[in-house]
Symmetry: C2
DNA sequence: CCCAATCTTGGACCCAGTAAAAGTTTATGA
DNA sequence: TCATAAACTTTTACTGGGTCCAAGATTGGG
């Protein structure tokens, strides 16, 4: 993995440069008001090369996706003995919050990120698509230790739904202008309530 | 609502004609191999008019969405006294299956529909987007009787996830060529197992 | 040092979707 | 019934994402 040649290093550098230039342009003028051609020009590269590294325009902005999937896969696979999948996931997200990790959604400095994201339907859609990719990845990991395909699929769906909801709640509040640190504190409770619903079920919900 | 003038009747007729012509073309040659211009020509209408009725190309194919949302909203709103939201939803989907309703996913005659759908990433994506619209709609209905925004959001997410998983399982099997009637029978069990997970929780899942 | 593999480039091209203006049909009301 | 308004359609032109291809530049390996 390490010890790459000049070629590979240049590629990574180019990739980073393109993504950084693009992110700056999007932040300054909005996603939809920047064309791929402009990004290419600003990065001293041809349009074709941009699409070489990033198959869709949206990927220029949402380029941390692979890392996130890998992290979640690891959480499930490497969970300690005696820990259920949901427990492991709950703990992981508590840790993200405590560490003020960007993926917790609630952290200073990414406000602009969410603003850019919200301003573009294409970006929002791509983000949700990434959510589904997470679901697929989780289902695959679960299938490694559970031969019941129906169950793995449903559990993966439920798990992803909870993560997505919790995440979405934080992002909404931040976009509404709530104080980031306050949101972060509140998220601890939101997280637990959401995971409680998942762990214990919503059987009686709404009975009247 | 009824008693429409000539204008409105013509509009509905045109809308239907465009959608039908489009569906036929897609079935014959695949979604991606048919341009909107071709649809327009085949329907004796200008391209602009097609976009007038269907804001995106994908909507030419997935044009039953509004009905589905309305049905699910009604299931929750009009559920009988003493029935929880999840129970109502479970029952509704059992009824769809028993009635061999297209929305149960498992019914003869829609195989071609799924094939066309699967063949186009754009269509698949639009379908998932519709799934999110269902989630939003459910969250809104739940919010009418539950002031806890966090809870409504999470429950709506979980509910939609289960529905989506169950649906997806049926469609996958049918696309794999499994006998439709057999899939339909199996879905009864799939449905109950999925809703059981939702009602009673997945707390201990994967503990080792 | 040279060849082969691997980027990169430029340019032409396709198609979904938008904008604006002019044309056509239906509705309205005097 | 007829003129005018309102609603719908068409035409034309354009933007911009994304693909294709052939030719040019770079790098790695022998």
């Amino acid at each position: 993995m390490p010890e790459q040649g000049l070629r590979e290093r240049k590629k990574q550098a180019t990739r980073r440069r393109i993504a950084d230039v693009a992110t700056a342009l999007f932040a300054a003028r909005g996603f939809d008001n920047v064309t791929v051609a402009e990004v290419a020009e600003a990065a001293n590269v041809s349009k074709m090369t941009v699409f070489n590294y990033f198959p869709r325009k949206e990927d220029l902005f949402l380029d941390r996706h692979a890392d996130r999937i890998a992290a979640l896969e690891e959480v499930v696979r490497e969970r300690p003995e005696g820990t259920s999948v949901v427990e492991a996931m709950r703990r992981h997200h508590h840790e993200l919050l405590a560490a003020r990790h960007p993926l917790s959604g609630a952290i200073e400095g990414v406000v602009g990120f969410w603003q850019v994201l919200r301003s573009s339907p294409a970006l929002v859609q791509r983000m949700h698509e990434q959510g589904r990719e997470i679901e697929d990845a989780l289902a695959a990991v679960l299938a490694e230790e559970d031969p019941d395909a129906t169950r793995t699929r449903v559990v993966a769906g439920l798990l992803t739904a909870v993560i997505g909801s919790v995440f979405g709640i934080a992002v909404s509040r931040i976009l509404d202008g709530d104080d980031v640190e306050e949101v972060r504190r509140d998220q601890v409770g939101v997280l637990d309530r959401a995971f409680d619903l998942l762990e214990h079920g919503v059987g009686g919900y709404g009975r009247r």
